[in-house]
Amino acid sequence: MTPPQKQKIAKAGKSATLPLTFNRRQVYILPTSYGLLFLLILFAMLLGSINYNNNLGFLLVFLLGSISLISMIHTYRNLLGIKILSVSAEPVFAGKTVLFMLAVRAESGHRRAIGFMMEKEHPALENIDVKTDETVSVNCPTRSRGIFRAGRITAWTRYPLGLFRAWTVISPDVSYVVYPKPIAGPMGFGVSPGGDEFDGIPVQQGADDFSGLKQYQPGDPVGRISWKSLSRGLGVFTKEFSGAGGISVMLDYDAVRDADREHKLSRLTDMVLKAHNMNAEYGLMLPGRTIAPGKGERHKHTCLKALAIFGLNES
């Protein structure tokens, strides 16, 4: 596992505050390789027209030349005036791809075929309708855990003729959390603080009492979706259980039998997820930080975030 990249966290370039609008100072434009090839073709045809003194040839060469010149304005304009309202990213586990959701809007005119990207890749081209909030997503691969500032997002377009490429680079003031990569294993803790040795979380049979259904929310464990009510067409509901046996576990960093810190964190991550899925009450003990037992999405995030930033300089 690669060591966390501290420098990436520390690196704080000029960042833009949102919302921001692409203006003339930020939008650049250059011919694409196709544009240069087109220019070469036109030049060859111009030489032909001069040689044969052919007015139709001149006319066509000049028409195509003018068209490409005009297309430059259209390309530039396609990007200008687009507003980025917000940028957000859901936390992901290391090694997965973080998805930035950009809320964008164009106050005037439809915008066609605009790509948003972070790395060199081929993004899907987006169309932005006039005066409508659109959401576009940008992918970025992650390698290690931590809290990172969103990198530079490039918005670009070649519309309409593909002869020119206009682009602008934004570095939104947005950070995202990358949890440690979960590594599956037994729910073993080695020697617990009390000195007793046990494997797994003691789950008391029958303690998981079904208490009712609640409206499904993104993030609820799939295993708890009430398929029965879904198949009846009632909607998506999640089964709720009371108590989860009433047990409460402390997931202890020092109790994980592993030499490598990153590996330990990964194991703890896995345990947090398992405990969450079992609807158990769990707490987290890290050197220097203890999170009291609890449950729910917010609690899970608190624990995972603590694991993500453990041992790193929090800025």
């Binding site: 073709i41 044969y52 005009i70 075929a113």
Partner: protein
């Protein structure tokens, strides 16, 4: 929509539209090749047939190139280049999986469109090319915006073209032109019909069957009367017993003969693949790029393969200067032994005549009274063609009469030669210019008079005077006339067709004068008009500079409008709503920071029920404009108007 409809079919359409006008210049196998490839592709999508993979595509490319080598190995010209483009364009649609391939295929379509510079520069072709560029541009937009609608693609292509056309016109007018050719390459055109450098019985008759335009003439003043419209082109000097030949040794001459009654005109000559230029008898000036010869004919340096325009002055009355003895001796030379009966006849009928004039008159009288007739369908003649004509068939066309006449004159020692060209022409009623067709082809005779020099004598005028006064169409029976089916079978409708033909010809001629005629010299004249005069390279540089400045200004103006306006429009709504709020706040009803327009309206209505109508209306319009996306111009102007006239009284009476 699936892939083929999104990009492949539009690209195919662009290629087909681009290649269509070239069909005539492509060999049959390439046309079939294109039809097969372009036909297979859509069918393969419909019936799920396999599409060729990379290996088969390579094989097909190799076959195509071998085919091209076989077809064009003898002559590598623009048709070979076109053939190569067509063969490539036929295969390319099979590999357009990536954006790069698609872009290159569309460029190929543009390439084929520009290749039309090898075609004629007619108005129809020019309009077709504009259409073709429009379609190709729409397809280019399509592949850069695959999610868009075709209609929008076409609309944008039309908009871009409309914005580009002013720039195009500027570039066309101001881009520095050069004289002559850049690399010395010229087009190889299979020349159209026209005179050749020999004249045999039947050669003019063949031409007359052709209704193609030979040239068009625009006179500066009125069109001269028909009997003066002799268009001189070639002089046939040597007779070999059957054919008349152009004298290859004719020397260049410095100046045309003197004359009177000058006529100024401009000729637009269709390409005929030979060097001669036609001019009204007798040329008084030598056009640029032409050489004047001792036999009073004009020729260009290279054969004429493109439409050519030249302005001239001719003298309808002329008195050529003296001729050297060598030329005169050549002009009475005849081969030994041919046409003995004609020689005897000529000697007999001119026996008692003393002057040249008298002798000429006697021979013409013989033609007039000897039972000769004028026809396009003369019988075949034997080895002694003149004897056969005069004593047996007595039927002939202008070349028979001219040949017999010149032969007889030479046999009695009068220098004579045959001049070939055209006689007459049709006046286009819509534009007052003359259309001279191949069917107006004519030959006549020039005789050397000791006192007045070379003079035109037309034996055809003696036999069929209406040929000269009424032209070919008034002379021959409809069955003999060349031309389209309609003249014979459509009766009254043919008149309408004729009118349409004249109208279209008039439009085309005007176009060709404006467009094709624009050249180095016209550009100089234009630049002079706008004040750029100093000679040589400086003019070109100044023109280029001017061009850059003007284009920079236009593009700048476009950009300014295009990039400014999007920020402006919504502001108007905002601005006028702010004005509305300000008016209300002056009346004591200020809008709070967090108050939405509806809340604000309710607040105002509670305090000032008297303003109900206006405030409700304005707020409703504002909400429509701002939040419901109804941005139509009428709603906006309505809103602005209402805000303008809104004048809330300061306070209500009861308050």
């Amino acid at each position: 929509m699936n892939e083929p409809y999104k990009t492949i079919f539009p690209i195919l359409t662009a290629l087909i539209v681009a290649i269509f006008p070239h069909i005539g210049n492509l060999p049959v196998w390439i046309i079939l090749w294109c039809v097969v490839m372009w036909g297979y592709l859509p069918l393969s999508f419909k019936f799920k047939w396999p599409r060729p993979g990379i290996k088969i595509r390579r094989l097909l490319t190799a076959i195509g190139i071998i085919g091209l080598l076989f077809t064009y190995s003898r002559r590598l010209d623009q048709n070979a280049y076109l053939g190569l483009l067509a063969v490539m364009a036929a295969l390319k649609p099979f590999e357009i999986a990536s954006h790069r391939d698609r872009m290159i295929t569309v460029f190929l379509a543009y390439f084929i469109v520009i290749t039309s510079l090898f075609l004629a520069e007619t108005l129809a072709i020019t309009l077709y090319m504009l259409l073709s560029v429009g379609i190709t541009t729409a397809v280019l937009i399509r592949i850069n915006d695959p999610a868009g609608r075709f209609k929008d693609n076409f609309k944008l292509a039309a908009l871009i073209m409309a914005q580009a056309i002013p720039l195009m016109i500027l570039l066309f007018l101001l881009f520095p032109r050069i004289e002559g050719s850049l690399f010395g390459l010229s087009l190889t055109n299979t020349g159209k019909s026209g005179f050749s450098d020999t004249l045999a019985p039947g050669s003019v008759t063949n031409l007359v069957k052709n209704d193609d335009v030979a040239f068009r003439v625009l006179f500066e003043r009125s069109i001269p009367p028909a009997p003066l419209l002799y268009w001189r082109g070639i002089v046939f000097q040597d007779f070999d017993g059957r054919k008349w030949h152009v004298d290859k040794q004719t020397r260049q001459w410095h100046a045309p003969p003197e004359g009177k009654n000058p006529v100024s005109y401009t000729i637009t000559l269709e390409p005929h693949n030979n060097r001669w230029l036609f001019a009204l008898d007798m040329p008084a000036t030598i056009p640029r790029s032409a050489i004047f010869y001792k036999d009073y004919t004009l020729r260009t340096r290279r054969s004429i393969k493109r439409k050519m325009r030249y302005s001239m002055i001719s003298n309808t009355r002329y008195h050529p200067a003296g001729e050297n003895g060598w030329t005169l001796r050549k002009s009475i030379r005849l081969p030994e032994g041919v046409n003995p009966k004609t020689r005897a006849l000529a000697a007999r009928i001119t026996k008692n005549a003393r002057t040249v004039d008298e002798k000429v008159g006697r021979i013409l009288d013989y033609f007039r009274t000897g039972g000769f007739s004028y026809t396009l369908k003369p019988p075949r003649l034997g080895a002694n063609s003149v004897d056969d004509f005069i004593f047996q068939s007595k039927k002939g066309y202008c070349e028979h009469y001219a040949s017999a006449f010149a032969f007889m004159l030479r046999s009695i020692g009068i220098p004579a030669r045959i001049v070939g060209g055209y006689q007459g022409g049709e006046v286009n009623p819509y534009a007052d210019y003359l259309i001279v067709r191949q069917s107006d082809a004519h030959v006549w005779v020039e005789i050397w008079y000791p006192k007045t020099g070379w003079n035109r004598v037309d034996p055809t005028a003696a036999v069929a005077p209406e040929r000269i006064s009424k032209g070919i169409r008034g002379t021959l029976s409809p069955d003999d006339l060349p031309g389209f089916f309609g003249r014979r079978y459509l009766g009254a409708l043919s008149g309408v067709i004729e009118q349409i033909r004249f109208g279209w010809d008039a439009i085309n001629t005007r176009w060709s004068a404006l467009f094709e005629g624009y050249s180095y010299s016209k550009q100089r004249a234009l630049l002079e008009k706008i004040g750029i005069t100093s000679g040589g390279l400086a003019v070109s540089l100044k023109a280029l500079l001017l061009l850059l400045v003007v284009i920079g200004m236009i593009v700048g103006a476009y950009a300014w409008f295009a990039l400014k306006s999007p920020c402006r429009k919504p502001d108007k709504v905002k601005k006028y709503y702010a004005r509305f709020c300000k008016k209300l706040s002056r009346a004591g009803l200020a809008r709070k920071a967090a108050q939405g327009p509806i809340d604000y309206m309710n607040h105002v209505l509670k305090n000032r029920p008297d303003l109900k109508d206006e405030v409700t209306e304005i707020t409703e319009l504002y909400v429509r404009l701002r939040y419901r996306g109804q941005t139509s111009r009428s709603v906006l102007s309505d809103f602005i108007q209402k805000v303008r006239v809104f004048k809330p009284a300061r306070k209500e009476s009861k308050d």
